[in-house]
């Protein structure tokens, strides 16, 4: 450590802490408290009654909420596996070709696009027209071209439409994972890989026994970041289906309870559930970070 002048330290971190206290800490505490009270549109007004655990029971027993929880689990598994998996594969494969930079840019472009923009793009891809009209969505055009019936991609429940939404997320975030894993991959000393190959290991073996273990820490961080993202996922579902046809997710339910149904008690309970789900992953990330920091002292 360098400086020990205390008031000077507060000068540096003060503004940040103030902003965070107001915008993040204070609302969180209020929300946790609010989740034990009933419906209404004010935080704690005369019309708001104490509701005990009623909101909490709702969150874990109501059918729509359970669907949302199921969907978030599906997102967590599929989205994370694919973004990290594809990111890894692309990082390794692209390292071997000359046109690496161009393809990397192509994969990364969606990350620069807003969710709304992405939703427009993919809504177009999934567009449906009845069989006797020309298809304008590329997916249905392919299906019809191969002799099938057009599919209502965003309507078929329970798996197809959810997967179609998850695809949009994967499309947007794989680039991010790829970039990070690629840098980590390039950090592996080439001699290590060469040594393994000389010893007679084939590519797959090299990948499994040398590359993967070395990339595991980075992959873990990337994966937990993705999981945190996905538990909070909102924009894509909000714009494309608004949770209809069993595509509901937790963050969208919270938005609806708060802004459409004016039940702040329930909305708060849902928010806190979200918080509880995310926390273990954050603890993992922070622990890893603390270990890093510890080494630095």
């Amino acid at each position: 450590m360098l400086y020990t002048g205390r008031w000077r330290s507060w000068l540096f971190v003060g503004p940040a802490l103030l902003l965070i206290a107001f915008f993040l800490v204070y609302p969180t505490i209020m929300t946790i408290a609010r989740s034990f009270f009933g419906r209404g549109t004010s935080m704690f007004g005369p019309t708001v009654e104490f509701a005990g655990i009623k909101n909490w029971t709702y969150v874990f027993t109501n059918k729509v909420m359970l669907t949302a929880l199921r969907n978030n689990a599906l997102w967590a598994v599929l989205f994370t596996t694919c973004t990290v998996g594809f990111g890894l594969i692309l990082a390794v494969l692209l390292d071997r070709v000359k046109y690496e930079k161009i393809v990397k840019s192509i994969i990364f472009i969606p990350a620069a696009i807003s969710m709304v923009g992405a939703s427009v793009i993919w809504k177009f891809v999934y567009a449906y027209r009845p069989i006797n009209m020309d298809q304008i969505g590329i997916l249905n055009a392919l299906v019809v071209g191969f002799g099938g019936q057009p599919v209502g991609w965003l309507i078929e429940r329970p798996w197809i439409n959810n997967i179609c939404l998850i695809v949009v997320g994967i499309w947007m975030w794989t680039g991010f994972c790829m970039v990070i894993l690629s840098a980590a991959y390039k950090n592996i000393p080439k001699q290590l890989l060469e040594a393994a190959r000389i010893d007679g290991a084939n590519e797959w073996r090299v990948f499994r026994n040398v590359i993967l273990p070395l990339l595991a820490p980075t992959a873990a961080v990337v994966a937990t970041t993705m999981v945190v993202q996905v538990l909070k996922i909102f924009d894509i579902i909000f714009v494309m289906t608004n949770g209809n046809f069993s595509t509901e997710v937790i963050a969208n339910r919270m938005y609806k309870e708060m802004f459409n149904f004016f039940n702040y008690g329930r909305a708060s309970a849902i928010a806190v559930v979200l918080l509880i789900l995310i926390t273990p992953f954050m603890i993992f990330n922070i622990r890893r970070f603390a270990r890093q920091e510890g080494g630095r002292q």
Binding site: R39, S42, K63, V64, P130, G152, F238, F259, N260, F262
Partner: protein, 419 residues
């Protein structure tokens, strides 16, 4: 360099914040086809009142949500035209809107429409732009060519549909998609059917949750609607209906050859398909007939019940210029602009149907003024959780194949909480 940029931008902002003259903030949700008409009304008002500047904010989705947030933040718009009577009542209860009795002269509004904006002996909504909903749009040329007759009872409608199918055509076009509001056209169908199978009194009980959603009469209304899909009368089937945007759902009638022959929708749809197809002539290329009666017992006087909706103007901030604008919206000038631009109806008390050059609007206006049984759109009267939530998604779930009993139970569970 960055610092000077920040100051420059802040300067811009300061300039923007310092308004010049009185300002009225209006928030509406009228989509692209109707917004220009409202602009014209604003222009007419500003021409008469050069010192008042009307700022229009268009919010396409989740407007109740946005309004709730702005109310909580203490900066709602000055006024907003909207169809959500249930919500208006909630606002009135919370003291968030202005009681306009005594502030605004309602002499220009059709007396039959004034009560809709009244609540607890106060006037909270000025009825301005009515919509008649119980209409079936059809293509008279095709009907004439194929020898189809306009049905006057439900059974004739079904028989006609059978005939159309036998001739290789598609009877109905239905469009349920509407972004966050998807499902609402289906609720209109079901409300219209309720009026015709169970009658106006039961309709009122249903809207006020005096009978449960699982009541057999409610179930029958849903089933009658679903029956149209089961019999294959709908263009594109369930998926077609679920993915077609309401604004495009009348278009199949005007394709060559037509992809469907009838469409159930309110008067406003005229603005939409005229935007998509040039040169359509009202009365020749398209015409309307009221959705026929179903159960004679439900409509004892034989007349066709009318499902009506529209927008009422609700005021949040009581300032002279705001009241002035609200008053202007009820005036004959505003009503005329709206009617002429969009072929929409007028809430103006002395609206002269013959004054409408458009025969369709004339017909609808006559229906509006002559109806003996009329009811306001049910989903707009219900509390938000149902009217803009459970009912809408219930329709979507039912059409996409979920069992009706499950759907009705889900809505009923939500209703028990909401009422």
């Amino acid at each position: 360099m960055r610092r000077s940029l920040v100051f420059m931008l802040m300067g811009l902002f300061v300039l923007g914040a310092v308004g010049l003259g009185a300002e009225v903030n209006v928030m509406h949700g009228w989509p692209g086809e109707q917004a220009p008409a409202f602009e014209k009304i604003v222009e007419a008002f500003e021409a008469e009142n050069p010192d008042i500047d009307v700022v229009v904010e268009i919010v396409g989705r989740d407007r109740p949500a946005i309004l709730a947030t702005r109310l909580a933040a203490g900066n709602p718009p000055d006024l907003t035209p909207h169809p959500w009577i249930g919500l208006m009542k909630q606002w009135a209860d919370a003291g968030q809107i202005v009681d306009l009795s005594g502030l605004v002269d309602t002499a220009d509004i059709n007396p039959a429409l004034i009560p809709i904006g009244e609540y607890n002996s106060g006037l909270y909504g000025l009825f301005i732009f009515p919509n008649v909903k119980s209409l079936i749009w059809y293509n008279p040329k095709v009907f004439a060519a194929k020898g189809y007759e306009v049905p006057t009872t439900w059974y004739q409608l079904l028989a006609l549909s059978e005939k159309i199918v036998a001739d290789g055509g598609v009877p109905l076009s239905i469009g349920l998609e509407s972004g966050a509001a998807s499902g609402w056209p289906g609720t209109d169908w079901i409300e219209d059917i309720m009026l015709r199978t169970a009658g106006a009194n039961v309709y009122d009980k249903w809207v006020n949750h005096e009978i449960p959603w699982t009541d057999p009469r409610v179930k029958l209304a849903f089933e009658t609607f679903g029956n149209l899909f089961d019999k294959g009368y709908v263009f594109g089937g369930p998926i077609g209906a679920l993915t077609t945007n309401f604004g495009d759902a009348a278009d199949p009638l005007f394709l060559d050859p037509p992809a469907a022959l009838m469409h159930h929708q309110a008067t406003f749809i005229q603005g939409f398909f005229n935007d998509h197809f040039a040169g359509l002539v009202a009365g020749e290329d398209y015409n309307i007939f009221p959705l026929p009666t179903i159960t004679p017992k439900a409509t004892p006087d034989g007349s066709v019940p009318l499902l009506v909706s529209g927008d009422v103007v609700t005021v949040f901030n009581n300032r002279p210029e705001v009241i002035k604008f609200a008053q202007f919206l009820t005036s004959e000038t505003a009503a005329n602009i709206w009617s002429t631009e969009l072929g929409e109806l007028s809430a103006y008390v002395n609206a002269d149907p013959m004054g409408f050059t458009d025969p369709i609007t004339r017909k609808a206006q006559e229906m509006l003024m002559n109806a003996t049984v009329s009811r306001f759109d049910g989903s707009d009267l219900m509390p938000g959780e149902i009217g803009t939530g459970a009912f809408w998604s219930g329709v979507l779930d039912y059409i996409s194949g979920i069992s009706l009993d499950t759907v009705l139970q889900t809505i009923e569970a939500a209703a028990e909480e909401a009422y």
